[in-house]
Symmetry: C2
Subunit: 551 residues, 2 copies
């Protein structure tokens, strides 16, 4: 009935593969000719996934993409989970790429903002990680994916190493939609048996290339205990007693901050004193944080599933396979998609931090001049309304008023943990998020909010905890935020009498209300006070990167 061609993408793929036949040895592309190969394999206006991951980077391919001739390869639409390297932005300056969809832009956030203002860059959208992966299967199907592994065999089978991270999600879409998958690896072996294990089947990979140097991996989740301050410790004590224990949090996510590192290091000391072992914090979705080692060694932690790996933690994770996910080869396996799903749907609680919070509790890390992106926070920092299983903590969020109804549901704990001042002078609490203005200037459809206020159940500051889920309306929610805003301008919007009433009603708790002496909150409570202590706790299995070694 139809005369239309229905396999044009397949034919296009075959033509592109054939165009590098003179360069390739089977699936292996020569390191020295990769720029020429990319010029054949990538066409103008292609959608190109470039694996900038949270830790693992396809940095060789990024540098080589920067070298292609912009006359033949231009106006690429780049899809990058994490924009982290200078080359990620250089390709826009050179006209090789023109549009960007991303999830996180830590180190490059200033440059992203600048180039957007200079018109060198069009932003598709800022996403949360799995939202970006999701679009790879719908309206953002890529033509090419440039990804990164540890080793490959000649058939294209990939061993990603402990930082499997986003690679499976990034590869599957092009592999099964007639796109091209090109993987850089540190080493190419001949036979499959020489690989530690297969993380991505060779069928899914069109070309592999040995990088000119081992890929860059950043120890992004290592926090040196020496930098943990007494304020972090006070807040950690409140979190453990006034949130984790109060609600019975079993499955949880921790992010990158010193606040949560302090909590991890207080479980074997303060948590133990409170008799909480085996009662809270059993199942974790987080990167293998070195600061979690003492809690693991003390028997607090049943399982850890990870978004990515962490440099130096490879041997420790392998030797603690009862806790960590590891492969048949013994080495760790991570998977950001499944870990984000676990963080979204299986976790009782998300705890995070922010740079700014507005009167209604909306927060963002996008500030003037910094287009940071949010990574996993929007996905894990909201109440997943598709959740249907109950847990103690989830049920504990149902208020007495709600219990009167036939149809009632629990909710996820979404904790924002912030100090009232970002530094000596800048209040965390602002009347309007910079994100509102940034959106207007950049012509974004909506302001880039990281976590919406009505998803936040708890606000933790050095002043105390505001139990926002108990607020009876928006006015009370606003007042509860002010009640823990300390000496900031927000703090002056509530009276002492109001704060007293909130404390009496159990809607605000100060350290005193929780039976925590501020003078107890000091570094002596930390189970490890230095990276050297963490190494000791790990039986020497943790091998910190040089920059964290002082010995």
């Amino acid at each position: 009935m139809s005369r239309k061609q229905w396999t044009t993408k397949r034919a296009e793929k075959q033509a592109r593969v054939a165009s590098v036949a003179h360069l390739a040895d089977g699936k292996v592309l020569p390191t020295a000719h990769i720029v020429e190969a990319l010029e054949h394999l990538i066409k103008p206006n292609d959608r190109v996934v470039l694996e900038g991951n949270n830790q693992k980077q396809a940095d060789f391919l990024a540098r080589m993409l920067e070298k292609v001739n912009p006359e033949s390869v231009h106006d690429l639409h780049m899809i990058m989970p994490s924009v982290s390297l200078p080359s990620h932005m250089n390709i826009f300056e050179k006209g090789i790429a023109s549009k960007l969809d991303f999830a996180f832009a830590g180190p490059q956030s200033v440059r992203v903002a600048q180039m957007l203002e200079d018109g060198l860059l069009e932003i598709g959208a800022i996403h949360t990680y799995i939202e970006l992966y999701a679009r790879l299967y719908a309206d953002l199907i890529p033509n090419v994916a440039l990804v990164c592994g540890f080793k490959a065999d000649q058939y294209g089978n990939l061993y990603t190493g402990a930082s499997t991270e986003d690679t499976p999600a990034l590869v599957e879409a092009p592999a099964f939609k007639d796109g091209l998958v090109i993987a850089q690896v540190n080493e190419i072996v001949t036979q499959t048996e020489e690989l530690d294990r297969v993380d991505i089947p060779g069928d899914w990979v069109d070309f592999v290339v040995q990088a000119d140097q081992a890929f860059y991996i950043e120890p992004l989740f290592t926090r040196d205990p020496r930098l943990i301050k007494d304020t972090h410790i006070l807040m950690a004590m409140m979190a453990i007693k006034g949130i984790y224990a109060k609600h019975g949090v079993q499955t949880l996510n921790h992010g990158i901050g010193f606040n949560t590192a302090a909590i991890e290091l207080l479980l074997p000391t303060y948590g133990e004193q409170l008799g909480l072992k085996g009662k809270i914090c059993k199942h974790w979705t987080l990167n293998p944080h070195p600061t979690l080692i003492p809690a693991i060694e003390s028997g607090w932690v049943e399982t850890v599933h990870s978004f990515g790996g962490e440099l130096g933690m490879e041997k420790y994770a392998a030797e603690r396979s009862d806790v960590f996910f590891t492969g048949p080869d013994g080495s760790m396996r991570s998977n950001r998609t499944m870990c984000q799903l676990a963080g979204q749907y299986a976790a009782d609680m998300f705890i995070g931090s922010t740079l700014q919070m507005d009167p209604e509790g909306n927060s963002s890390t996008v500030t003037h001049g910094r287009l940071a992106g949010f990574g996993g926070a929007p996905n894990m920092g909201h109440d997943p309304r598709g959740r249907r299983h109950a847990s103690d903590a989830w049920l504990n969020m149902i208020t007495d008023e709600e219990k009167q109804h036939d149809i009632v549901k629990g909710r996820k704990l979404v904790v924002q943990s912030v100090e009232t001042y970002q530094d000596g002078a800048t209040s965390t609490f602002v009347d309007q998020l910079d994100a509102v203005d940034v959106a207007k200037k950049a012509g974004m459809a909506t302001a880039p909010v990281m976590i919406y206020g009505d998803d936040v159940t708890h606000l933790l500051t050095e002043e105390g905890i505001a139990y926002l889920y108990m607020a009876k309306d928006m006015e009370e929610r606003k007042a509860l935020i002010c009640a823990v805003a300390g000496v900031s301008p927000f703090g002056q919007r509530v009276t002492q009498a109001q704060i007293k009433a909130f404390r009496d009603a159990g809607k605000v708790a100060t350290p005193e209300d929780l039976g925590i002496k501020r003078s107890d909150a000091n570094r002596s409570l930390l189970a490890a006070k230095s990276v050297a202590d963490l190494v000791k706790w790990s039986d020497g299995l943790y091998e910190p990167p040089a920059k964290f070694r002082s010995w």
Copy 2:
């Protein structure tokens, strides 16, 4: 520092593998001795994933599990995405299993309810699919997974066939947490090259066994156009004009119903008349519905990503690879995890149906005596608050009132499409969902609601469309529901004057308001009126199962 054993699960796995050394030839278990092998490999109280998928079933392994000696294998905690086969329940009757976590129980829903009442079964929870997968990486890590593929090689590499479905998500958790993965296949080949492609690497699979017969696959998503009624067609016309076109829906999900089948078959006729081609319905997340063939052939559909395959659609999907996701071998590839993610985070709209709806718009398919489960509906039928990218349809949900605020977000369209009566006598609209009572009797923590009322943006009945997202408060939401509830008791709770006011305000639209003549709504509008028509549209590529053939 620690003297604890940290690799006990790895050792336990090795011991179990060793215990069948006398039976296995490498990774291959003999069909005739599989019951004995299972008795060695599975221990009492194990958490066991049994691949009951929406379509593909590990039915051989289910039947063999039913034959193990309950003296040696008992009290298993079963994790089954879909409870579909008699053997799935027989294992509970025989005492082999005692606890069940699941997502969907279509054909077995009555038996699940009965056995729960008889105390033969403890229900962990009813989940949405990816919520269940998520827990496999946190608090429900399985000891054993029994899964299903099309072919395997002797190294355990699996080709799943077009219905890859849940297999990757179910396998990854045990494979990387020292669990056992046992796959039944229709055929075992010697060399990897003999496989069509590798969907699951052999490293992740401990044992393969050839089933005594090819696995059962159900054509669950095939709707015979002959069964589409004029009411379906009227509702489909309203959906296309009053929802899809009005809001500019580009990326969407369709379920299993005749209502949505009618919409699919009206795109090339009614949709074409309205000049909508290329403007709506470009990207789809759904199984390869045969009723979508005319829309595909007419050039409406850019891409389809699928949860699973559909019997008879294999050749068609392979020959339409510009539209469907296919592997390097040319055959279709599905993936429920990624498709559910796309349906959650990338889709503008979810449209579904229900058996009961209460005054606030809460709905459930759990009724007295039927514990059905919800499959993917809770995940796709809610507004994903982690979404941060905009689309026209998403932005179109922002009301004028909301536009006054600095912080504003779009939302997903969640459409409930129901006839006011389920059959001649039973109203869809009820004052209390049966689910409330079922929950009380079964001791569930919360009532099993499929979609929460405040997530529903549109209610479509044969009477018209209620634009619930425009309701200014709960009272108005309730009245809007009643306004399209027809002659049911709910319909009598609003006056004609109220309905008129809603119509004038654009909060309710009748067919007349939409310029749709009821007399036009008849089967002559269907692009295909029979399965034979669908085969013709497909150029003979669609091969319907025997039960759908009348010729």
